[in-house]
Symmetry: C2
Subunit: 459 residues, 2 copies
């Protein structure tokens, strides 16, 4: 049982209320804000900058908390800071370890919403086998929760296949959701949230039903690909007589330590992605992302709705565009992500700026303008995406793009209005294609001893 370790940190889990933006994981000290969370490094970078301003060395802080958690290196000092480079000298304290980063499965929210996206993320949708019913679904979620808790803690799950032996949890985060048709399948139609009503059709959609929807959804993330495989396979085996994988996509982000400068992570079009995202320090962050404690339905308190879109990037025509054209389509400079109205990556976009001939500097159809909260009555969501590359299609072009993942308290107030606007007037639309779609209700985190969805399935 190489994999088994003592799990000591959960007692240190500090929560700030059911709907507040808590810090996941507790063993990842000064958990970075999820701003810019198409890549974890990005969020971590913001985090360390703040700590530097406060005169607190990231590594020393990490060591202090690790000691406090009682586990030394094993307790998880995975402080991915300083532009994604975990190896910035930090004095004599033990520095970070990719493998030792450990998140708590329990908490007011499930673990894969706040905190950074990891280097690897897999999204699976499963359908219940006929006749499973509510009891079978509850037993499945109980098995899944138990396995997720163990693996996230670096412990071996039941009937372990040994694949992750010797490897730390590596920031493993496992998150479960329920799709629209789940409630029909288990006879709980009355408990289905209205927020799960099917998304409207968008004119540019080219959705593959085989890769869309699903009764159940799992997001598995970690900084190590073998840890991700181990978790996916373990969860699939635990579902064997109950549910079957409907579709699965593997995604990636920049690896911890791969960046050597301060620039943010990029998507497969070469753009710095995740700028101007929701940030936990924003006053309305929790209201926008999480269903409140007195929300409807009650079983979704502390939960969130996730919209997943497989967005194919048409890289052949995109890469034929001159850089200047690409930048006008986006409204940002490719090199540093700064808006065309000047400044740096995090400088606010000046949508009102005009050039010497009175034309808007940010074109009317620029992606950054059309998607901005200011253009959408304030609508905003927490983006936390992965890139994917599934080989090459028959015409020789890459089957690659963005696994767009966004979180919100209500899709009708976030994803839907923004996507409607993009669908009508985004210059980027000519270079992307939405090929699959999913919408899932992700309940709050499980209580210790409980399981995800317990309030629904035993309600």
């Amino acid at each position: 049982m190489n994999l088994r370790k003592t799990r000591t940190a959960s007692a240190a889990h500090g929560t700030t209320g059911t709907t507040g933006p808590t810090t996941h994981p507790p063993t990842e000290p000064a958990a970075p804000p999820p701003g810019g969370t198409t890549d974890g490094d990005r969020a971590a970078r913001s985090g360390v900058s703040r700590r530097r301003l406060l005169g607190t060395a990231g590594a020393a802080g990490a060591a202090g908390l690790a000691v406090g958690a009682g586990g030394g290196l094993l307790a998880g000092t995975g402080d991915r800071t300083a532009s994604g480079n975990p190896d910035v000298p930090g004095g004599t304290a033990p520095l970070s370890s990719v493998g030792a980063t450990r998140l708590d499965f329990h908490g007011p929210h499930q673990p894969g919403i706040l905190g950074p996206a990891r280097a690897h993320g897999e999204l699976l949708a499963l359908d219940l086998l006929p006749g499973t019913g509510r009891g079978g679904a509850a037993a499945l979620l109980r098995r899944w929760s138990r396995a997720a808790e163990a693996m996230m803690a670096g412990e071996a799950p039941d009937a372990d296949n040994g694949v992750a032996g010797g490897t730390g949890p590596s920031g493993l985060a496992i998150t479960f959701g329920f799709g629209h048709d789940f409630f029909d399948a288990v006879g709980l139609v009355d408990a289905r949230p209205r927020a799960l009503d099917p998304l409207p059709e968008f004119s540019a959609d080219a959705l593959d039903p085989e890769r869309s929807g699903g009764h159940l959804w799992i997001q598995v993330e970690a900084d190590d690909p073998t840890v991700v495989f181990h978790a996916v396979r373990t969860l699939q085996r635990a579902a064997a007589d109950t549910a079957r994988v409907r579709h699965r996509t593997a995604g990636f982000n920049r690896a911890p330590g791969a960046a050597s400068g301060e620039s943010g992570p990029r998507n497969l079009m070469g753009q710095i992605d995740g700028t101007n995202n929701l940030r936990p320090e924003q006053e309305d962050f929790a209201d926008r992302v999480f269903v409140p404690a007195d929300g409807d339905p009650a079983w979704m308190a502390g939960g969130s709705y996730v919209v997943v879109r497989r967005i194919r990037m048409l890289l052949d025509p995109w890469e034929e565009q001159p850089l200047e054209t690409q930048e006008r389509i986006l409204g940002r400079r490719r090199a540093d992500g700064a808006p065309l109205t000047g400044g740096g990556e995090t400088t606010p976009v000046d949508l009102a700026a005009v050039d010497e001939r009175g034309r808007p500097v940010i074109p009317a159809d620029a992606h950054v303008r059309v998607s901005a909260p200011e253009s959408n009555g304030g609508a905003a969501m927490l983006r936390r995406s992965y890139s994917y590359h599934d080989g090459f299609t028959g015409d020789g072009s890459p089957d690659a793009g963005l696994l767009f993942v966004c979180w919100q308290a209500d899709p009708m107030l976030a994803f839907v209005p923004v996507q409607r606007k993009l669908d009508r007037g985004d210059a980027l639309s000519a270079f992307i294609r939405h090929e699959a779609s999913g919408l899932f209700a992700v309940p709050g985190g499980a209580e210790p001893g409980g399981y995800v969805g317990q309030r629904l399935l035993e309600g």
Copy 2:
């Protein structure tokens, strides 16, 4: 041009002769031996253990060499040591960085043979478009070599798409090979090595011709998945009018820093893999892996032959076996990789040992016995594999297994006899299936200013 950096280290490239086992990369200090190279961490682990015995701290050694190479952190201090954890305290010296690890494209051998396999590896086979001819192929290899040299140095290739901006080279290694049919396509049949004669058929093969063969082969490896995507896409674009991707598989190994103990990396059956591999310190290592300076054909001097097998693991029946059965099939303990005859992972297997009833402790059909050099007239090859997971098949089982990659001076003296023996009597055969196969001639490294295959294409 965030990506552009000064490249300072190539002058420090030390070679030990055309056919000797040189250390790739020169900027990765005390390059670890490729023993156990189904995962780079493994090799690095052995490396640091030796250095520890010598009383030399890995991190201090790294810092010293990095300074010698003149580039500080940018020169690459990616010393993946101490059980794959790059963050072991090493005094006040700058520690390692995943992104900064930089390999030299030039050298007597191509870069993806010696040194560790990385966290990510993609294998591509391409076919030349009709009418390309020798001149077109030479121009392609020249473009590819130029792009590979730039990207491996952390510089932007021509017409860069910007995807790797801000990210260090992350140990990027790009390696090119020629398949049997390449020589027909370009009218160089007389230059085709006899070693490229098609492999014999094995009884357990279930080869998919669409995923086998190919005129040209590329192995792209790095510790960052966006760096791999960037390189693959760049090389594909550079081939656009000349060659087309025939098949591509993405593989993975354990990420740097993911291991928290001393145990080696594991394959998707849960086994520690890569034990008892060829090691550069073995006297006959170079003879076994590389074509000698006076070898035949002359253009392959310093080159090697790679056999690639997509080996599907039948994980459903495998995981149904009790642990004891799995261990008898392999001849090793799953927990620590030690042979059933005792000791630790690196303890030699005692094939002669018998139990109290006189039966062999290592069963006659155990994988470790059947594949051992002692069972194959000394035949051995350098294994350097990746795991893969391409989703789930129609029956719900994982489409996953091993991208077996092995290197040798002559396949008829290495892969072929060993695989013949395995094909007849390996207990593991019931749980695996060879689904694709490739054999490629990988010439020696390019000279500075030259390109891979130049001696063939201009010979």
